[in-house]
């Protein structure tokens, strides 16, 4: 097991090298850079521009720029943001919490809803509630996240029940601590709903399919024929085995915690990583884009690794050597 983990971590190195090199080339080979806009500004003198180019290291040849970035990144120094004039790590960590908060809550809500629904659907296969659920699942995986965000914001405005977009109200600073928690919670309802419902659909269908598969197994028939109560058969024998494959999905979702909500964050102006990165891409804020691509890929790979480990832990039949 340990060897497997080590090997996976080692294989991460060439992968990250490739990912960063490709992203670097894509960004740098595209026309224009962050200074392009400043060049049009008559107030900024050519000397200042040259100075800034040198400061940002943009005057060096491409391979020097990349190697320099790589060397610094190895020491966890991801450089400065052109647009914000602060270290990239500082910028990212300030947004990290907001994105994590949104995604972790959405993940928890999704699992809490999806697993029981999936069990219900499998136990009453082809009943009207099963059919309704699977049709609803089709709808929710087929609705673009930005569209459901827009629609719910429209609905929130019409009813006046919930705030529209953002993370805090104007009076946030003047609220007591419980008022602040409540304020953020109210702002989170719609984004959590959108993200949660989106992943409920996939999870629920997976849970349903797994449980149906398990319910056909001999040991379930044995459990039933020895007269166990149906609830015991389902909860103790079937669900435990059916939930195993979901662990892989859990790993994938862990990997997507940082990058999965970008579209929604932009739509609902949630001050998270996704919005930061989209802006950085637009402005060609090179080092912010590079750092976020690295973080995004590392979390994706780490999520898959965690899934592998959890799977081996929960299912003794799986061995990695």
């Amino acid at each position: 097991m340990l060897r497997h983990v080590l090997r996976r971590l080692l294989s991460l190195i060439p992968m990250l090298f490739g990912i960063t090199l490709i992203s670097f080339l894509i960004i740098q080979l595209s026309p224009g850079d962050y200074l392009a806009e400043m060049r049009l500004n008559p107030i900024v003198s050519p000397q200042t521009l040259e100075q800034m180019r040198a400061n940002f290291g943009l005057d060096q040849p491409l391979h020097i720029q990349y190697l320099r970035w790589l060397w610094n990144a190895l020491r966890l120094d991801f450089g400065y943001s052109f647009a914000f004039q602060v270290p990239v790590m500082w910028l990212i960590s300030s947004r990290l919490f907001n994105t994590l908060l949104l995604n972790v809550v959405a993940l928890a809500v999704a699992w809490a809803i999806a697993v029981p629904l999936g069990i219900h659907a499998a136990r009453r296969q082809y009943s009207w509630s099963d059919n309704t659920l699977s049709f609803a699942a089709y709808f929710s995986i087929s609705t673009p996240v930005f569209f459901s965000g827009l629609f719910l914001m429209y609905w929130a405005y019409k009813t006046g029940w919930l705030p529209i977009g953002g993370m805090t109200s104007i009076e946030y600073e003047f609220l007591p601590w419980w008022g602040r928690v409540l304020d953020v919670a109210r702002h989170m309802v719609i984004p959590v709903l959108v993200l949660g419902v989106f992943s409920v659909a996939g999870l629920m269908r997976q849970m349903r399919a797994n449980l149906l598969e398990v319910l056909r197994q001999d040991y379930v028939r044995t459990a039933r024929s020895k007269g166990l109560a149906e609830s015991v058969v389902i909860n103790r024998h079937a669900v435990r085995n059916a939930i195993n494959p979901l662990i892989t999905i859990f790993g994938f979702e862990l990997g997507g915690l940082l990058g999965g909500s970008a579209i929604l964050e932009i739509t609902m102006s949630w001050p998270g990583l996704g919005k930061l990165i989209a802006d950085a891409v637009l402005q060609k804020d090179l080092y912010v884009v590079m750092a976020s691509l690295v973080i995004g890929s590392v979390t994706l790979v780490a999520g898959n690794l965690i899934a592998d480990i959890l799977l081996a832990y929960s299912d003794p039949r799986i061995r990695y050597d």
Partner: protein, 378 residues
């Protein structure tokens, strides 16, 4: 379909079970029989037929052209043909004309003294059907100054229904085109990796995994930000398609590789190799054709992904841009909340996105059940 062709191996088995030769079904017939039982899949297929009919005959069905703009009727609410008004019931549907009364709140007053009947096969703006046949006949329309804005208008008074129809061309074809690029690349790549195995497989799959480990949406954004902005709509459309395909091939090639790994050990592949065929021909003629059902299913289920990808990109201004229209691009008008609140009909393009994606998903799932013999229910 090769309905008359009965494979030699199938006859003795079928007759042994006491079936007449006429009762023997080809794999395609079996799949169709299974698909027919899947009512949701058929409904999905029907929706797709309707949508593609709209795509093909967009100019004819749309009452107005892509660039038609009625500046005096911006953000006009939907005008739905009606059968009755204060003066009584009419068997012919008609609309009333409107005039702008409050530009700030975009209020329109309805003049219900005159009816403008909906005319079918009426003359309107000239267009070329299929880009070839010049015509001025539109499926329906109303006389001036009446307007038939089935789904309202946008900020410059352009008919949203017509623009949705024109936009469906891009939105409904991008998935198919992207699949058309992804599938050959993914099949060849996965086929070679799976067939040779060993070191070649190892290196090729590491490269594919690298592609998969890219955080998708960010890469999509980065690549689209690189695209030139001052090119024609169609050029940009092809570039976006290419990017979507570029993101898709790796995951697909991994699926194919897994399947080829098991297929290459089958007897018929060994036989083909023993007969002296070269590797490429074995892969192309004997191994890959057996992945056909997987490919069809992955393609059908992958197309909605591309539709969603295009609409998200265009929604954020990275994809298809004005003056072209696609469903995502049309939704940009709805992204401004104060505008949306006054003109909720701007959400209509989203309804088309959902309908198309649901239809593809339903149809794809039905197809998977139909093509997978293990899932057949008798």
């Amino acid at each position: 379909m090769a309905q008359q062709v009965i494979r030699p191996g199938a006859v003795p088995r079928a007759t042994a079970r006491g079936l007449e030769p006429s009762q023997i079904r080809t794999p395609a017939q079996l799949a169709w029989r299974q698909l027919r039982r899947h009512r949701m899949a058929l409904a999905g297929g029907a929706v797709l037929v309707v949508l593609y009919t709209l795509v093909i005959f967009a100019e004819f069905i749309a009452p107005y052209s892509l660039d038609y703009s009625d500046r005096a009727r911006f953000y006009h609410p939907p005008v739905v043909p009606q059968f009755w008004d204060a003066r009584g019931v009419s068997l012919r549907p008609f609309v009333h004309a409107t005039t702008l009364t409050d530009p700030g709140l975009r209020r329109y007053s309805v003049d219900d003294t005159r009816r403008y009947y909906v005319r079918f096969f009426t003359r309107g703006e000239p267009y070329r059907l299929f880009g070839l046949i010049p015509s001025t006949v539109h499926l329906f329309g109303v006389d001036e100054p009446g307007r038939i804005f089935l789904m309202g208008t946008d900020q410059s008074g352009r008919d949203q229904f017509s623009r949705i129809l024109y936009g469906s061309r891009i939105s409904m074809s991008i998935g198919i085109l992207a699949a058309g690029i992804t599938i050959p690349i993914g099949m060849l790549y996965g086929g070679i990796a799976g067939y040779y195995g060993g070191r070649i497989d190892n290196v090729m799959m590491r490269i594919a995994e690298m592609m998969i480990a890219f955080p998708g949406f960010y890469l999509l954004l980065t690549l689209s930000a690189v695209l030139p902005t001052n090119v024609a709509c169609t050029t940009r459309f092809y570039l976006i398609t290419f990017i979507l395909a570029f993101l898709g091939w790796a995951g697909f090639s991994r699926l194919i590789r897994g399947m080829v790994l098991s297929l290459k050990e089958r007897e018929y592949v060994l036989a083909a190799r023993a007969a002296g065929l070269d590797d490429l021909r074995v892969i192309m003629r004997h191994v890959l054709p057996n992945t056909a059902s997987l490919v069809i299913v992955v393609a059908t289920l992958g197309i909605p992904g591309a539709i969603l990808g295009e609409s998200s990109l265009s929604f954020f201004g990275f994809g298809v841009r004005e003056p072209c229209s696609s469903w995502g691009n049309l939704l940009v008008a709805a992204s401004n909340l104060p505008t949306l609140i006054l003109s909720p009909w701007l959400l209509f393009p989203g309804v088309f996105i959902i309908a198309a994606v649901v239809a593809f998903n339903l149809f794809g799932d039905g197809l998977r059940d139909a093509l997978d013999p293990r899932l057949r229910t008798g």
